[in-house]
Each structure stands twice: as C-alpha cells, then as structure tokens.
Subunit: 331 residues, 2 copies
DNA sequence: CCTCCGGATTGAAAGGTTTCACAAATCTGG
DNA sequence: CCAGATTTGTGAAACCTTTCAATCCGGAGG
C-alpha cells in the first residue's frame, strides 16, 4: 500500500479509503489509485487487515466425514449463505477423529475466523463451549448439544427413525433389523429410539428389533451386516432392515444381490439420508430424506445473525425429515 | 502475549521464545509461562504471527466438485501429507464455476496461504500463472497445464481411456458408446482420445465410437444418456459403453435396469474413477482406477518441496491408471 | 471580502506477534 | 578467582493495514 500511495502521489490513508470506503474519495483520485494498484499487482495483505480490523471474512465448517455425500451437500448449503454475505467458506474434514477435530478448531480459533460451523464427534465436548465463550461464534450442525453456549441446527432423528419403521410395519413387517453403530453415534442412537417408538406404537415388543451393530457407517459395514443377517436361522431372520444411513443400505443391498435374496421380496430395506446414489441403486432405495442443503444454509445464516445481531439469543432449530418411498420396500 | 508476560514476570520476547523455540528458554521459566498461558486462556493471534512471519501454516485445495467422491479422496491424501508437515488443509469448492474459483483464489492469495492446490476449471487460465509468479506456490492436480510456472500431478487419461476400450474390444465389442462431456472438460477429452487410440490399434474405424455427449458428469446425465442410447435403432446401437466417470455409469446402469436391458448381456459398461459405489452397484462396475489418495498426497508433497527446497524445479508427475474388471463387462 | 461549511485528504497511532542484536547470568577450565 | 564461553533473557524495531482526529481547500452565504 505504501508503494501504491507513493506511485499514485497520495497518502496511505487515501489508498486505504479507496479500498474500504470508495465513496469517500473523489472519482479522479480513486481512478488514479486503482490504476496504480492494477499496474503494481497489489495484493492486499489479509493478515494485516485482520490484525487491525479484528475480524476476518472467513467461515469454516468442520465436517465429520468428507467422503459422505451428506456432509458435502450440507456444505453446499452453507456456501449459498456465505456467497450472499461476501464471505468465504473453508471446509475442514475431521474424519471422525477427535484429535484432528481439535487441531482444526485450534487453528481456526487462532485465525480468528468469523465463526465456526461444526458437526462434532461429540456435541457435548467442553471445547466447543470454551471456544464460544472466548468469542468465536459456534454453530453445531446435525446434532443438538445440551448446553446453551451456541446455536444448533439439526434434523429430528427420532422422528426419522419412527416414520421409517412405521412404514415397514404398515407394509406388514414385524421382525425388523436395525443396522448401525448406535452405541457410538448420537444420531444413530436417536434413529434407533424412533424405531423402537414406532414398534411400541404398533403394539410390538422391543424384541422385534434385531440389532446388527456395525463399527461405522460405510458400504463395507453394510455388506458385513448383510452377511450376518443372511446367516440367521430363517425362524428369527428379519424380513426388513432399517439402515442407519444409505451407505450401509447400499452395502446391504449388494450382499442381497450376491446371495440371491430378493429385495423387497426376501428383505425390505430402508436407508437414511436419501443421497443421490439411493435413487440410483440396483433397487431404488426407500430412504429418510433430510433437508441437507437447507440445514447448511440455515446454520450459516444463524452464524451470520450471531455476528451481526445485538443481543443475540442462541436458537436450536430442528427440521423434520420425510420418508421417500421407493421400490426397496414396496411389495 | 503482553498480559502473559506481565503475569509471568518475564519479557515479551521470552513468551515468544516459549512459543517458538522452547529449547532456548530454561525449563523453569518455560513451565511458569506455560502455566500462565493456560490460566489466562491465551490464544495466539495467527494474523499477527503471519503478518510478522510472512507465511502461514495453511494449505488450501480448491476442488472442482465437492460432491464428487473422487475429489474428497484426493483431499484425504493431501491431508495425510499436511498432517505430516504440521499444516492445516482448507478445502474450497469451486463447483465448476470460474467466478467462484477466482473468488477463492483471491481470498487465498490475500491470506498468504503457504500454497494452493487446485483442480482448475481451466488449467491454462492465466490467473494461475500470475499467482505463482507473485509468490504463492501453486500445484495443479489432476490436470496437466501447458505452462511451466508450477508443478502438476495428474493421471494419464489417454492411457486410461485406452485400456478401458481395449478391454471392451477384447470382450468382443465393436460398436462402443462414449458418454461424457469431452468438448468442455480436458480430462474427458483425453479419455476419449485414448478410446480412439484403442480402436485404431485394433484396426477399427473411429466411427465405431458413438458419442453421447452430456452437459456434466452426474448420475442424472448418465440416466439421460441411457435413454438416448436405448432409443437408437438396434442396427446402430452400441453393445458397450465407456462412461467418462462412475457417476455417469451408475446413472446409465439405472436406466438399463428400468428398461430391462441386461448388463453386460445387452450392454457392457465401463466407468472411470472406481469410486466406492462402483463396486457396490447393482451390477458391480468395471472401472478405471486412479490412485486418488496418492495423487493428493504427491501434490501436497510437491507443494511442500517447493516451499522448502532452494532452487526448486517444477515437476509434472503423471500416474498410470489401472483397469479393475468386474461383472459389468464380463459375459 | 470574510466566515463558515462540507467534502477530500492526511498523518500518526494502534493492533499482536517475531526477530535479532545485545545484556545478564551462569558455567568451564586453568 | 578470573577470563572466556555458553546459556538465558530483554527490548525495540518491523510486519501492513485500519481508523480517526485533524487539516486543507473550494465555494456558498452574508
């Protein structure tokens, strides 16, 4: 900027004004300064700007699993909102690792980003509250934390589980497999809870839900669960499966194809998330659709609101999922 | 830092030393300073650090399509390398939009990131060269640009196309559809080139390659192409299809299922990328596998080399893809 | 012709860190 | 016990902006 000022024959302050409040500088000098900036290939130093101004023009989303299309769709929604507010969105992938998540959070806090969006490994980890308390706004996405130090946006997983299993019951199924890692992941626990609720509403015992627990929610996990399911004696083998996400459902579907089990004839399948591949599967998959893009957009908007509003009150937004019925459950 | 120094009864310089060269300060004072930092919840200001130090500890990858698993896998490889070098990787999604790409590049340059990894919309856009010339190292990923202002890492797309189609020819096919947007995307153009080369090597005319041009490379595009293909008169309808990526292949597969075309009986299908879903498809997909993770890791390593090496020479690394044969082409 | 006004421009301080030459303290060996 | 070497610690400059009170200037109003 000093060089630009010298070359344009104006003061440093004027160059800054051209950059930040172009209306406060006469058209003639502004043109002159802009010409010099172009000629000198001036690139503003964001660190210095930020140091002085105190805040940055960057939002960040720390996502749980960059290879899951669900999260990239959520991120796309955030980008919509960030674009509208002249901000950049940086994506970080914690890949389910608390250490990576913590490292990213540290970096982001040091960078003094305008705000952090995160789908955390553990929504009640104290670190999130500490960061919020120290002044970097935090919005939790796709989980509802207990505390009140930040906003959150989520989808009602209990309800999602409920409509999925209610649908299976309506299709005449009574013995239903639940495939997922409900002991480790909060969302999955909730979806299973909804499943149990649907059973009980239909007058069925909890024992009608057969747990096939997986370590994660990948296609490979689904394949493995399928093999275990096929190995069950016919008398106790479920006639339907509710999978904690679509990746698992796709894996399950693949095993069914290999083992010549017909879907939905021998096994009806419901997935979760309704990712693009769900409709494109061998047997199009019935799935619980979450408003992914909307989820992301709302989260980013909440974050922006927190930085602009005075007297901001933390809100917990919960969206309602919907069931998309396709061939995998229609007999 | 000033507060920490005061509370610990040392000078500012000492606090800085604790942070940056802990070995230059005695264990006793170091412990004291660290205790005070913890107590005061000191968070280092990265802007100030960067302003003074001149460089940041951040790499960025501007990816072409965040919702394509291929790119998230590439990003995972970069993360491996970044982790090893105590750097953070920020992901930016240009979503094929040149304006978004340019906006991100501008932001990143202003942030003085340590380096930029990018799969550009146009690998020969002058902007990339300008950025590199101004001092921010740039590595082009999955494309090979013409200029010599930066390194690049890519996979031999011509060869990939060649082995795909050679395989189809070996399976007895002579009339082969090529599905993709080869007029707009460089990689796709190369894959098609390889396809033509394989035909010619087998003594077949270029006319044996039937172009079904799409606007992008999504599942929906694949579905559309499938309908067009099915609509062709039997006399000219290809017996095999080479799809420019797996998403397209999955869409095509779905249309085949809907229209009761058997795969590979009525139509053999080869995809490209070998994403996880390829093996999990209704009919497991033959696909050309690219070393995605390796691609990303190598790109990041090249970038780090550029920032550390003296007298760095720009390199163009090209990996060789391999064909993974599955049911979709085996009769 | 003077005063006052408003818009345009200026100059200097401030923001939080790193770096480096230098001072102080401690140790080593004779 | 001393010179010299080594280990620790210090202080101020520098990094590049933004901000804001102060100054400048031309013109309107009296």
């Amino acid at each position: 900027m000093k060089d630009v000022a010298a070359a344009a024959g104006v003061s440093l302050g004027t160059v800054s004004n051209v950059l930040n409040r172009p209306d406060r500088v006469s058209p003639a000098t502004r043109a002159k300064v802009e010409a010099v900036m172009a000629e000198l290939r001036f690139v503003r130093n964001e660190s210095a700007r930020q140091l002085r101004a105190g805040r940055s023009r960057v939002l960040a989303y720390v996502m749980l699993d960059g290879s899951n299309p669900f999260f990239t769709d959520v991120a796309a929604g955030m980008e919509d909102a960030a674009d509208a507010g002249d901000l950049s969105l940086f994506l970080c992938n914690s890949a389910h690792q608390p250490s990576r998540e913590a490292a990213y959070l540290g970096r982001l806090e040091q960078q003094r980003v305008q705000g952090i969006l995160i789908t955390p490994v553990d929504p009640d980890a104290p670190l999130l509250g500490e960061i919020a308390r120290r002044g970097t706004p935090v919005v939790v996405v796709d989980r509802t934390p207990g505390g009140t130090t930040h906003c959150s946006v989520a989808v009602d997983d209990v309800y999602g589980g409920e409509i999925a299993v209610r649908h299976l019951i309506e299709q005449g199924h009574e013995r239903i497999a639940f495939i997922g890692n409900h002991t480790t992941v909060g969302q999955v626990r909730d979806r299973r809870l909804g499943a149990l609720r649907a059973l009980s509403a239909a007058g069925l015992y909890p024992g009608h839900l057969v747990d096939l627990t997986t370590t994660a929610l990948t296609v490979a996990d689904g394949r493995g669960a399928g093999e275990r399911l096929a190995g069950l004696p016919a008398a106790v083998r479920p006639t339907a499966a509710f999978c904690a996400n679509d990746l698992v459902a796709l894996g399950l579907l693949q095993t069914c194809a290999n083992l010549r089990m017909r879907v939905p004839g021998d096994l009806a399948i419901v997935g979760y998330d309704d990712i693009e591949f769900a409709a494109a599967a061998a047997v199009p998959l019935t799935s619980v659709r979450q408003p992914r893009r909307r989820l992301g957009r709302t989260a980013a908007e909440l974050l922006l609101a927190e930085t602009t509003e005075t007297g901001h009150e933390h809100r917990k937004v919960v969206f309602t999922p919907e069931l998309v019925v396709r061939a995998s459950t229609l007999r």
